[in-house]
Amino acid sequence: MRLVYREYGQLVYAVAHHVLGRHELAEEATQQTFVRAWQAADRVHIDRDPAPWLATIAKRVAIDIYRREARRPAQPSADVVSMVDRGRALMMQSTDPDSLDAVWRVRNAIDELSVDEASVVRLQHLDGLTHTEIADKLGIPLGTVKSRSHRAHQRLTDLLGSLRKEVR
């Protein structure tokens, strides 16, 4: 189970977090996913890639938890309100398997990058930094940032392209 978790845990968590928007709920969904997978493991062909199967369970579990949370009496907590709003906003995506497959694919592709490459991509896309700012932040030459960025995005493109039809 540890091996399976280490292979797919972050992917499952990313999908759950994308749907639920809260760390604690995403961890709950991740755990439920692996427990359900465990309970159903004897019905899985061992020769097949378990990724699509786990992705399906993860999506269902996350959506179930979202629905459970949405049914709970409203609390005047900004956190809960924010979560529900986010959940509503994402519901269209949540019920669209393609969107959650995209989360799975992107996270999987990120995990395939080297730590240095992933760091540059994260600073670019998540933090919105330019090459120059990243070079300053990491204390590395601008050329190194550019080459890592180019290499990382080329790899992401390759991975996302090849993964396009695999998860579904």
């Binding site: 189970m1 091996l3 845990g9 692996f34 097949r48 989360v103 998540l126």
Partner: protein
């Protein structure tokens, strides 16, 4: 102040050298991929304790609420050093589920095992050693055996684990062929009574009794 990347620049970065050669469906996905790369949830990491919690939950098949309490308790109290289990080989994706079915890894999270055993080698396997953790649940006693140094056996020959009581009664708890992975065993009898755990080498002779060729032995103690 430096200008931030625009969405178009993000999409161009993702498309890379193929930007002008994308298929229509690929091009249509670019905004979503760019949005996902900019979404904090895509980069979020589960907490370090989640792995232990999941293994523990699987071993006990317990509801999440109980595990939440366990996690919270663990965070509150001083962390004890947990054993980090590193797989000796990279798990191929296709083999992962087989490993799930065949070998459950011992958990260091949660309340801990009900019984433990340290296993010492005999003259038949002087380089071997092992340990076992026992968790009692509704299905019986789940025993996770962590043995190393057991030689790979010839085809047909196998290892068999046993629990033995003070009267010498042996109860088989499972067979296996290699100590490369953690071995999941089950017992219907309690290690509180059957207090000795042994591992023997068994020949392919259809004889259900122990061969007596013990390679590992140890006392089971309350956890």
């Amino acid at each position: 102040m430096t200008e931030r990347m625009t969405n178009h620049e993000r999409e161009t970065l993702i498309a890379g050298d193929r930007v002008s050669a994308l298929e229509p469906d690929e091009a249509a996905e670019l905004p979503l991929l760019a949005a996902l790369l900019a979404d904090p949830t895509t980069w979020a990491e589960p907490s370090a304790g989640l792995e232990d919690s999941i293994v523990h939950a699987v071993m006990n098949d317990q509801p999440w609420e109980a595990t939440v309490t366990a996690i919270s308790d663990r965070r509150r109290r001083t962390r004890r050093r947990t054993r980090i289990i590193i797989p000796t080989t990279a798990a191929a994706a296709a083999a992962a589920i087989a490993i799930v079915v065949g070998s459950i890894v011992a958990s260091s999270g949660g309340p801990g095992p009900d019984f433990t055993a340290a296993l010492a080698p005999t003259g038949l396997a002087p380089g071997a050693h092992g340990s076992a953790e026992v968790v009692h649940n509704n299905g019986g006693f789940r025993i996770v055996l962590d043995a190393t140094g057991l030689e790979r056996l010839p085809d047909g020959t196998y290892y068999e684990a046993w629990l033995k009581d003070a009267a010498g009664t042996l109860v088989p708890i499972g067979t296996f062929s290699s100590s490369d992975q953690y071995i999941a065993l089950w017992s219907g009898v309690s290690p509180a009574t059957f207090t000795t755990l042994t591992v023997t080498i068994e020949p392919p002779d259809n004889n259900q009794a122990s061969s007596g060729r013990v390679v590992l032995v140890g006392d089971v103690r309350s956890g």
